[in-house]
């Protein structure tokens, strides 16, 4: 398996190699790896990569999976356009 060709975060194009390098540098939480590599910062907010990264951390540090916290999921979950937000909320006063 070529670590350089395995994409872990598809939104931000982060490879397995980059994730492993971050763990080797001492970033052993999903939140830290998000910040140094941008994994999980894209539209899906780490739905797939979060778990894959947790698994890598577990394998490389020996920490059991159950003890590894996943990233925070933030609103608006799923993504919404500015127009979709404003549409339902414009009142007579705003016009």
């Amino acid at each position: 398996m070529d670590e350089n060709k395995v994409i872990i975060c598809r939104c931000e194009d982060v490879t397995l190699k980059e994730i492993r390098n971050a763990i080797r540098e001492g970033f052993t939480t999903v939140e830290e790896i998000k910040r140094v590599t941008r994994s999980g910062m894209g539209p899906c907010q780490g739905k797939t990569c979060g778990l894959l990264i947790a698994k890598e951390i577990s394998q490389m540090t020996g920490k059991p999976m159950e003890e590894i916290e996943l990233q925070n999921i933030r609103p608006p979950y799923g993504g919404i356009t500015f127009e979709e937000v404003t549409k339902g909320t414009i009142t007579e006063n705003d016009k």
Partner: protein
Amino acid sequence: MKNKANVVVIGGGVVGCSIAYNLAKKGVKDVVLLEKSYLSSGATGRCGAGVRQQWGTKQNCLLASESMNIFENFADILQIKRDIELKQKGYLLLAYSDKELEQFKKNIEVQHSLNIPSVLLTPKEAKEIVPNLNIEKLVGAAYCAKDGHANPFQVTLGYAEAAQRLGVEINKFTEVKDIKTKNDALLGVQTNKGFIECKKVVVAAGGWTQNITKMAKIDLPIYSERHEILVTESVKSILDPMLMSFSYNIYCQQEPVGSFIMGYGPENEPHSYNMESSWKFLETMSKKATWLLPPLKNIRIIRQWAGLYNISPDRQPIVSQINQVEGLYVACGFSGHGFMLAPAVGILMADIVTGDKLTYDVILDLERFNRGEIIEEPSVV
């Protein structure tokens, strides 16, 4: 973890890391930095990451431009490999009244006295820089092409890495639980991982600073307040500078990766440590942003979050020793501009702790509030 140190720095945000690095650079041995979570987990990792030199007081202009010099040469100065993603495509400050424009003119005079290359623009000229800008109601603008953005995680980690190379011990996931004093002098710091004996402690704990100084029975005149922010999906570049208005109350910028990041100052926000997101922010932000930059309306918002502003009586930093407890220092009260000032603040605090002459001719001490010398900065968000 060491159980004895010369200086303990509390807080692993950009300010604490800059201070630790600058102390080590001045030759201070056995500096230990303590961070309760991961580095940049506080306001630093939650900020808008804008860096601007367009201030209205001489000392803010000075600190901001000195910091910009450091951002511009970051990797060389710190001898690290990290890319801090510095983007210098300007800050466009928008004026919606003649009074606001007059203030910009005055500010620009101050800025020019320190060689900050800012200019005053007509609405038409502003639109040349940002073709998508809605210039309805706009009276004029101020612009500095050298202002911009830097990645706050990379800047913080850069300082941390350089500090470690110079011998600083950084302990992540280590929480300060108590500060022990005897006869108004420091004995040491109690953490969840053990006690560290030390005579000097620098508190750079962002929104939590006032809680930590209370451990040494010091009440600071600062408070914390939630500020919300959001980020969009990445799209092709349509906005070069940071857009900012004090009266319309907004800041909005497109990061080098293509996502927009934006926020505004909340009204009637209670003093608190609340970092939850609100629907109201999303709604108001969406209205404000799409009015200012109409093409935003079809772009997807992907994440919103909040962080703490730590606010002093004049909304300016406190970088100071604490007279009542020998060896205790604080760097706090940064409001919305602690990221951009952190490089210079680190140098200043290292001067204060070592007792050297200050590198910059500025007044940021705590006693200024007792002397009634508040800093009147007209340009804060």
